[in-house]
Amino acid sequence: MRVGASILLKNGYCYQSYGWNRFRPLGDLQTAIDILDEYEVDEILIVRPIKGVDSEDSLNIDLKLLSELKTITPLSFGGGIRSNSDINNLSGLPIERLCLSSAFININEGFVKNAINSFGRQAILACLPITLIDDVICVYHSEANELIKLSDEIQEFCMQYADEIIIIDMSNEGNNDYFQMDLLEHLKIPLNKIIITGGVGKNIIRVAKSTGIASSIIENRVLHSENSIDYFK
């Protein structure tokens, strides 16, 4: 199983998110990426935490910063990629995989196919931030900035077009070690296609290793102590 790290990027600056509602500053992107290279994390996920409407120049600032980014670790990027023009100006970025959320939740087949065309199907990730509301699995739709029911069609669509699917446990995001593994039982998606994040700590990683999950991604905490990856692995 891969053990990776995630970083939130907004307006050219990195942030940490706690419980999906509070942000804390983190620092400069390249400085953070350099240390993750040195820790030799298995992969890095950079996400733009968009809630509702995304501002055009904020996206441009972030894309410009990404184009100058230097890293020797596999990189996935996502957050706010909603139009075909967004995909076109992604080509100059040093990223291996593209992470789409609203496109998959809207089941926007044309857009996803366009992404596959330029990146290849193995490079497409679906990102589903989920939480349990009176035991119905709901997913956060960032474009509409609201929680909607995670239908079977969305899951089918993700399994058909996405290489792997990132499941974010919204309520446990931040610094604890309580990712709700039982959330995954509610889903139709096979475990070897799932990347988990949000409340991923040492114990969750140990459990995830035995279930055949594809990858566990640690948020925030990977930068809280030296060489943390050795401790988590």
């Binding site: 940490q16 804390r24 400085t31 240390i35 030296e226 050795d230």
Partner: protein
């Protein structure tokens, strides 16, 4: 979320989104104030027992007779850190890096510290020509004269801990948490190469600073670089911040150091006579460069801190900031130390210090009214008699 470029001010303290450590807002209140409010909800007894467990872990199979390294520069906070370390019955080695900026008060406070607490100590004096060349380079390229000493102070103690097989480095406050609440106290953030580069050296490491142009013998930069983190892993060196385990209130706790022989230093740029007492530049030329670099002087950090501790309301904090921002600064001492000619200084001031030129003069003190809660915590303080003492005796019989 921070909007792009128009400034956004915190409704509680004096910070805005231009803070070099970054700042995020929630209903108008900045992340620094939010994290500070944790100090009143956290069960500090639990935090301390967590610390005690951590310490017993590090002492398990240690090879040195020292339990920890305590990096100091002889200011008031070090007195508090050392007394806490001894209360935790750790056997510390005091490590200090001489930044050559210390005045006679600085040497007194450093040597009184090791004498009063009766501790083994190691003072590293970096090769002075390389050091001064680094100061010239960072002054020229980053508007910063403390960068080289911060690079040394945040790396040398870790080198010594690794090389002398000492498993723990104990730091005082984590500035990223105390100023902008970058992490929660309960995250128990530890010392790391990343944190040093991001916060202490704001994104620059030695190679980026010297580029290809600096006239420096690279071989002399060994202790300006952080040790290899793989080796640190092998020799299990860990660094912790006491401000994650004790309710950190600098003004309150620094006052106690006076009883232990610490001498506060008066300065005209701030009301705080404890923090960084003993330096010939901190509240003079460094404060000016900080204003030009980040747009505010050290006093804003201290005023915001006092607002958060409830000893000051925001309005009077703003007034006090206005008052202290006007205090003039004498920079001649620094340039004599650096060996710069009079015309050299004039060139540099006119070309490189446009925004702060008006504040250059002789530092005289203008009395101003402080709220009782604050003045109650201040004792009387000395004026330095000798500046830029390379090595001082400090205490006498």
């Amino acid at each position: 979320m921070t909007t792009l470029n128009n400034p956004q001010f915190c409704s509680n303290c004096l910070y805005d989104n231009k803070h070099p450590f970054g700042l995020s807002f929630q209903e108008g209140v900045c992340s620094g104030c939010f994290t500070h409010s944790e100090k009143d909800t956290i069960n500090w007894g639990e935090r301390e027992s967590l610390l005690v467990d951590l310490i017993s872990q590090t002492r398990k199979n240690k090879k040195s007779h020292y339990d920890c390294v305590v990096p100091v520069q002889g200011d008031a906070e070090d007195y508090y850190v050392v007394s806490k370390v001894l209360a935790l019955n750790l056997n510390p080695l005091i490590v200090c890096v001489n930044d050559y900026y210390m005045n006679n008060i600085g040497w007194h406070n450093l040597h009184n510290l090791i004498t009063h607490f009766d501790l083994d100590s190691l003072v590293y004096n970096p090769e002075i020509n390389t050091y001064k060349e680094m100061v010239r380079t960072t002054l020229r390229k980053l508007d910063h004269i403390l960068w080289p000493s911060i690079a040394l102070k945040s790396s040398f103690p870790v080198h010594i801990a690794k090389e002398r097989n000492i498993p723990l480095v104990v730091w005082g406050q984590n500035q990223a948490i105390e100023q902008v609440g970058k992490f929660s106290h309960t995250d128990s953030v530890e010392m790391s190469k990343w944190s040093r580069k991001e916060h202490d050296l704001f994104g620059y490491d030695v190679d980026k600073v010297i580029g290809s142009g600096a006239q420096i013998d690279i071989r002399n930069l060994n202790y300006y670089r952080y040790p290899n983190i793989k080796n640190l892993g092998h020799s299990k060196v860990k660094g912790i911040y006491l401000s994650n385990y004790f309710r950190w209130d600098p003004l309150y706790q620094n006052k106690k150091s006076v009883v232990q022989g610490f001498v506060p230093q008066h300065n005209s740029a701030s009301f705080d006579i404890y923090e960084r007492a003993g330096s010939s530049v901190y509240y003079e030329f460094h404060d000016l460069l900080k204003l030009q670099r980040v747009g505010y002087r050290k006093v804003r950090d201290q005023l915001s801190r006092e607002v958060r501790h409830g000893r000051l309301d925001r309005q009077s904090a703003l007034e006090l900031e206005n008052h202290y921002n006007k205090s003039e600064v004498d920079i001649s001492g620094f340039f004599n130390w650096l060996g710069v000619t009079k015309s050299g200084v004039e060139w540099f001031v006119s070309k490189r210090l446009p925004k702060v030129k008006h504040l250059i003069g002789s530092s005289e003190n203008k009395i101003c009214q402080l709220p009782a809660d604050i003045s109650g915590l201040l004792t009387n303080s000395d004026e330095p008699t000798r500046e830029f003492v390379l090595f001082g005796k400090g205490v006498s019989l």
